[in-house]
Amino acid sequence: MIGLIALLYLAPIFCSIPITIAWVMEKKPDYARKLPILSVFGLFISLLVSLYILFNVQDGKYVIEWLPEYNINFVFIFDYLSKYMGVLTAFIAFLIGVYGLEYMKDDYRLGWYWMFFNVFTASMLLVVYSDNLLMLLIGWEGLGLASWGLIGHWFRDDDPMSYVGVMDRKVWKLDMFWSPSFGGWRAISTIRFGDMPMFFAVAAIYALTGTLNISEIDWGALFHHIGTPGTLILILCFLMGPFTKSAQLPFSEWLMTAMTGPTTVSALLHSATMVAAGTYLFMRFSWYVEPWHIHSLGLEYTYILVLFVGLLSALYGAVVAAGCLERKVLLAASTMSSLGLMFASAAASMWLGKIAIYVAFWYLIVHAFAKATLFLVAGHLIHVTHDRFCVGDREVAKKMKLAFIVTIFATISLSGIPPFTAYWVKSAMDEVMHHLIHEFGALPLTLLILTSIAYAAFLAKFLSLNFIKGEKVHLHLHGGQIMGSAYTVMVSMLLVLLVVILGEYEPHAAEFVKEGFVVTSFIVGVAVLASYSFTIYVPRIKQLSPVGTFLSDRMYLPFLNDFILPKIGWFVAKIIDYCNKVIDFSCHKAIPSAFEGWSIGIRAIQSGELNRYIKIVVGCVIVILATISVLGW
């Protein structure tokens, strides 16, 4: 067992060491351009191990001792969530690795890229299979580090193709275009901001319960012990990590500018796996806390918050994506939207039980494959059109038939058009929100439906503006076989999932089929189909252009990150500068002058006349004697 685990984590890392060393030793080691194959092989080994775990390992835990006297160990848990997620992560990582062999083959920093790519995969697998919170945090931090390294991969900021936003565009005082180095910094600083409360929450959990294993903590007793305000603070601090990592409002900006990284990075990290780590953690948390059994007011308030933050982020993301004209930013906003839906659905488990978590999880799986496919296609399009905005007319559809078909299939499957893959999962989600009618009225369901309609709209817009009704553009077609194969295999997974769901090979997914046949779900499906079809023919409405610009500026949310927060920072710096000045003044001016004054005053007594001295001395003596006699009486 321990050999398998070692293989799972160490294979990707060790296989990247040769190429990293080669790139450190020389500036442009052309002989090392074959070494990425070794890195991808490492990913393949991880994939094999995760498949083995899925099919051959019993549900349970495996413990490697670390600090047994503190009850902190490496605890690997193999349950429903971790087995499927592990395979998902490894498989997508492998496919994108293969894609990257062609996509990144002319890059100038391959050592950096492949090392962080594989470190990322190892960290994500650590997060997935972790039961111990400290071990999870190690993986969590690894994700953040890899994210920074990969987003800022083209750190020289010399290629406008790697930027996000229209170059040199300003809104009021703010630059609305971001460079890779800035994107990388934004990612790590936002995630750090969320990690800090999370660390404190984990420390608090350890202090209060004595253990860090999610499956073993007595959550009910813990919440009862710290009361409603305590529970609220603890869980909110803990959830700050997932919120920032999964780019929920108001922390979504980093995800948008993370598109400065290579497309492979966007596909792996920012659609399928890393950002999903936040929602995955929340799902795991809900799975073991079982909030439907615990009567805790604090827990309830937290879950209400998560529900609505999720739904609002979903709506925001979908609407912003509908206004976006940049390929990857559109997909990034849509990822944020889907993550919001995952959070909302998992949060609904408070009132509906475990089924809501299954819905969220299956949506995660479907979304992962579909979004990764779309990102890979977008990357191929960027290579071919040399433009990161949505451009391309029917000539593109003719010259890149494979990409066209894959995109059609992916978008239709993801939007929730019956009877394709996402339709069943989305129907289950509709039902979940429908059941919440008793607590929150029609609000959750309405938000979900609006989001779904906008979602279908922008997926259709992506398809239309790139392949059918976009601007004409010059094409640089060469190669593309490896890239094409990668995303074809990726999209075919959606077909596999459809078969799994419809064929009832997976008992919980079979539930979704039931939901799919409910009338309301069908109506939503038809609405989504209508939205999709409409947008294919009318991808852009000229009169709504101002609205579109407002949306593609992300409703001016960048001002929070780039304007308001820096102002707060500068204000704090000003206060500290003032305090420094006060200390400076007192040490260098105030105190020396005071002492100088007193000293001169003391010396002024000495006038040289005996008369004066005698008067002073005799006066003192008499005064003191008199005071003493009075006091002593």
Binding site: S599, Q606, Y613, I616, V617, V621, L625, I628
Partner: protein, 410 residues
């Protein structure tokens, strides 16, 4: 036994002084011999240091090219030295008062001695204050001794004794004579006044006050503590901007006397007297060594840089020099009896005193100088460096001596 050797020493001194009109070198020899005899029967850590101080003072008198009382000055200093050695073993109240005067009066003569004309102005200023001090001290002592059960007389007597002591040694706010006298008189006699003449007033005060403690003592000790604190501040702050080196040293004396006066506050708890006595005596020795070293350098016009700096650092209280240990013992004794605020004031004042001591060392230190003054400074520095070996031997000696503090017949 001690009385006998004191008698012999006194006879030697008088003989020598009388013979001075013939040959002044005889007086030098007899004075040194008298000191040796005096110390032979009462050898302990304290008397050892006192003898060194007295010897250094006698030798430093040779730096003066001319002296109005050449010859007799050796004898006067030897007389002061013998009295200082003897004072701990005096058990008689009248003898104690006599010791006080014996140490005070020779300085009246010494202060007027210069290389040129006798400095009568300075003498008048100095003597006026000293007489006032002596009178207050003696009256206060008599009142205190004759009202052992407290009452208004005790309080008055205590205050008068303390005030007399303050004027005698130069404690603020009665310190006005110190800067003028130290600046105007010849540095060599000042080095004697600033070093040897300070011991006996304190020891006599200790003996009288410790023997007459009663229920009112804690109350009246407050005055003493307040005077000490005022003196520390005025001395240290006044020295910060003084221009002449001898004036800086005058204010330094005021401050140091404040430190030593603070130790008298410990009489409220007899268990800690030995520690306060240790601190006081060590601080007096530090003060003496420093003043001798600095004033002889002022007389020469220049001193050796390393020696000047070591003396300055000892005054500041840098471990492991003697100045550190003396302040440490004073602080611990104050803390143990409960005078925390006074201890804090002492620490703050030590910090304030750093700039002007360094200034003194910088003004006086000019390379390496070969002269009698330098030799004297060298010995002073060696004494100050003795406490590199921690002075628990001195504490033990003081423990023994504190037994002798109570005088008979009181």
């Amino acid at each position: 036994m001690q009385e006998l050797s004191m008698l012999i020493a006194l006879i030697l001194i008088s003989l020598g002084a009388a013979l001075s009109f013939r040959d002044t070198r005889w007086v030098f020899a007899t004075s040194m011999a008298a000191l040796a005899i005096a110390i032979s029967t009462s050898w302990n850590a304290y008397t050892f240091f006192v003898v060194v101080i007295a010897a250094l003072n006698i030798v430093s008198l040779d730096i003066m090219r001319k002296s109005q009382i050449k010859g007799v000055d050796y004898a006067l200093v030897a007389l002061m030295g013998v009295a200082t050695i003897y004072v701990f073993f005096v058990n008689d109240f009248a003898m104690l008062l006599a010791m006080f005067i014996v140490v005070s009066v020779p300085t009246y003569l010494l202060v007027m001695v210069t290389d040129n004309k006798a400095n009568v102005d300075v003498g008048i200023k100095y003597i006026t204050f000293m007489v006032l001090a002596t009178v207050l001290f003696i009256i206060g002592a008599i009142l205190v001794v004759h009202s052992p059960h407290g009452g208004l007389l005790y309080v008055l007597g205590y205050t008068m004794l303390v005030l007399g002591l303050c004027i005698e040694i130069g404690v603020a706010p009665m310190h006005e004579w110190v800067p003028d006298v130290f600046a105007a008189a010849d540095p060599i006699p000042i080095s004697i006044i600033a070093s040897l003449a300070k011991f006996v007033p304190f020891v006599v005060a200790y003996k009288i006050l410790v023997s007459t403690t009663n229920h009112l003592t804690p109350f009246v000790t407050m005055i003493l503590a307040i005077l000490a604190a005022i003196s520390m501040f005025i001395g240290n702050i006044g020295a910060l901007t003084s221009r002449e080196t001898s004036r800086i040293l005058a204010y330094s004396t005021v401050a140091n006397m404040g430190y030593i006066l603070a130790t008298l506050a410990v009489i409220i708890n007899f268990n800690w007297i030995y520690l306060a006595l240790t601190g006081a005596m060590l601080q007096l020795i530090v003060n003496s060594m420093g003043k001798i070293g600095f004033f002889t350098a002022i007389k020469e016009g220049k001193g050796s840089t390393p020696l000047m700096y070591v003396l300055a650092l000892s005054f500041i209280g840098l471990p492991p020099l003697m100045g550190f240990w003396s302040k440490l013992f004073i602080l611990t004794s104050l803390v143990y009896v409960g005078y925390l605020w006074l201890a804090l004031v002492l620490v703050i004042n030590s910090a304030i005193s750093v700039p002007y001591y360094i200034r003194i060392a910088r003004n006086l230190g000019k390379g390496w100088v070969l002269s009698l003054a330098n030799a004297i400074a060298l010995i002073a520095v060696i004494i100050v460096l003795i406490t590199i070996v921690p002075p628990d031997w001195f504490v033990e000696a003081m423990k023994g001596l504190s037994e002798t503090l109570i005088i008979k017949g009181v």
